[in-house]
């Protein structure tokens, strides 16, 4: 599937959604899409026109970093997405204690009543740990398998 480079209007739509969800005001760089709703952020020096040329001649496998996914309830930021945009995230942040963060990074859903529904940024101290989805009873986990702590890895 080719890489789609978002135009100004499309990028603004993404930004509007991120602003409403997390207070993000700016995304510097090109926003790209590859695969079903998978968003990538490219902050190199090439412009949209050059990207089309690269696609034709080089067939890019990946450009920039995967930073989020468009879901029907909004945009879910990846671990990197939450880390890259951390200075701008002002709302819908859920602070985890160390024990909760450990469970979170093991890929477990957290049985916590947040008091709201939808995507929330997971944070523990200085660490931004991606996005969870809050429902009435729990926070759904999206940590990909290759980024999970295994319980035997948790050494105190």
């Amino acid at each position: 599937m080719p890489i789609k480079v978002f135009n100004k209007k499309e990028k603004e739509k993404i930004l509007k959604s991120l602003n409403e969800q997390f207070g993000i005001r700016e995304i510097s760089g090109l926003v790209l899409q590859r695969g079903e709703g998978r968003l990538f952020l490219f902050q190199g020096d090439f412009n949209t026109g050059q990207f089309f040329e690269f696609e034709k001649k080089l067939w890019l496998e990946r450009a920039g970093v995967y930073f989020g996914k468009i879901e029907k309830d909004g945009i879910r930021l990846s671990i990197e997405g939450s880390q890259i945009l951390k200075d701008q995230i002002t709302k819908n942040i859920f602070e985890l204690d160390e024990e909760q963060a450990e469970k979170w990074m093991c890929g477990q859903e957290l049985l916590i009543k947040v008091g709201q529904k939808g995507f929330i940024i997971m944070k523990c101290g200085e660490d931004f740990l991606g996005t969870g989805k809050a429902s009435e009873e729990k926070i759904g986990n999206y940590i990909p398998k290759n980024r999970r702590l295994k319980s035997r890895d948790v050494v105190r």
Binding site: F42, G44, F46, E53, L58, R62, V65, E80, D153
Partner: protein
């Protein structure tokens, strides 16, 4: 813990190493260090965290961190983990008792008794463990022990992309190349991404970095590592290096810097990859030498005038190192060898190998032997395209 048996070095390989290290003591030091596992080195990913903060975090986990290179605080080694708590001491005692119980249960007591005074052995072992534990308790001493299996590669800090596990010698090509912000950089044989992520960190995610890898399996690892490290200025391609360079030419992309960390026979990786002992053969070296020359030739064609290129391998084989660089000097007069400054002990490149004579310029290349710095083996040459 099970330890793998080190395979025997092939006689032809040993003969070649004798030629490279003619001094007997030197050769013995080399052979000796091959039996020792390499140190656990890693590089702080400065795109996400500062070396100071990372060090503090890891030390809070009681890891003993050492920064071996004065001017490169991001380069670190974990020497082990301090164990001080009573719980750990108790674990030592419990484990010892457990193992004694196992001996007691599983051993044929009768036969053992015939050979050894079994009860006496038990008492003696218990005494020694008790003595050790009591001493630790009394002194409040800290013990430095190895990290537990998986602890290094699956720590929270690693999973969050705060550090990248990388062998010290493998960091040298980028140290030698000194990439600058806003440049166009091409890593022609990029997987698994150690040097690409190092470059991107040096360039602070500015400019453009092309990371190419021809193998699909290795490309996935590359993509995963670049993602974990948060590289936003990278473009990944999956092309044969020679074809990629042709496409670059058609597109008018002329990188400021190129890394050709070429596929090689891997003689320098014996400490971590025992497979190399088995796979090594002279035929492969000759075959690889041809591929390496083609890759370098293609890279030279697209290197910007005034640009710099690193040719590196993780092998000691001169056919894959000095012979390739000498071939470049003979066939591309615009290419000049540059001096390299590295933070570890290196030896000059060879000017003669078997019946072949090389340019005296080859002394500017850097050979890294494992026993000189307790690293893997490496070869680095820095070339400049003169205007």
């Amino acid at each position: 813990m099970k330890t793998k048996k080190i395979p025997e070095m092939k006689p032809a390989f040993l003969e070649r190493m004798k030629l490279l290290l003619p001094d007997e003591k030197d050769l013995q030091s080399y052979l000796d260090i091959l039996k020792v596992k390499p140190v656990k080195s890693f590089r702080c990913n400065t795109l996400k965290i500062s070396p100071e903060n990372l060090k503090k975090r890891l030390e809070a986990k009681r890891w003993k961190i050492f920064q071996p290179w004065e001017n490169y605080p991001e380069v670190m080694i974990v020497e082990g983990k301090y164990v001080r708590s009573c719980a750990q001491i108790d674990k030592l005692a419990t484990d010892s008792v457990k193992s004694l119980v196992e001996i007691n249960n599983t051993t044929n007591k009768k036969s053992l008794k015939e050979e050894l005074p079994f009860n006496k052995v038990l008492v003696k072992k218990s005494d020694s463990v008790d003595f050790e534990v009591n001493q630790l308790r009394a002194k409040g001493e800290q013990i430095l022990q190895d990290l537990e299996p998986g602890e290094f590669g699956r720590s929270l800090e690693h999973l969050l992309g705060y550090y990248y596990i990388q062998e010290l010698a493998s960091m040298l090509p980028i140290v030698a190349l000194k990439p600058n912000e806003d440049e166009i950089f091409l890593d022609l044989c990029a997987a698994p991404g150690s040097k690409t992520t190092q470059v991107v960190a040096e360039m602070k995610n500015t400019g453009n970095v092309f990371a190419n890898e021809v193998s699909l399996g290795r490309l996935r690892i590359l993509a995963s590592n670049l993602e974990r490290c948060g590289t936003t200025n990278t473009l990944i391609t999956k092309k044969d290096g020679i074809i990629l360079c042709k496409r670059f030419k058609e597109l008018g992309i002329f990188p400021d810097k190129i890394l050709v960390d070429a596929p090689c026979s891997g003689e320098g990786t014996l400490r971590s990859s025992y497979q190399t002992y088995l796979m090594w053969n002279e035929k492969t070296i000759k075959r690889l030498s041809k591929i390496q020359k083609k890759l370098v030739e293609s890279a030279i064609e697209i290197l910007k005038s005034g640009g710099e290129m690193i040719y590196s391998t993780c092998t000691h084989a001169p056919e894959e190192n000095e012979e390739v660089v000498n071939w470049v000097l003979e066939n591309f007069p615009e290419m000049k060898l540059e001096n390299i400054e590295l933070p570890i002990k290196t030896r000059p490149g060879l000017t003669k190998w078997q019946d072949k004579e090389f340019s005296s310029e080859l002394k500017k290349c850097a050979r890294v032997y494992p026993h000189d710095n307790d690293t893997e083996g490496f070869f680095v040459a820095k070339l400049k395209k003169c205007q």
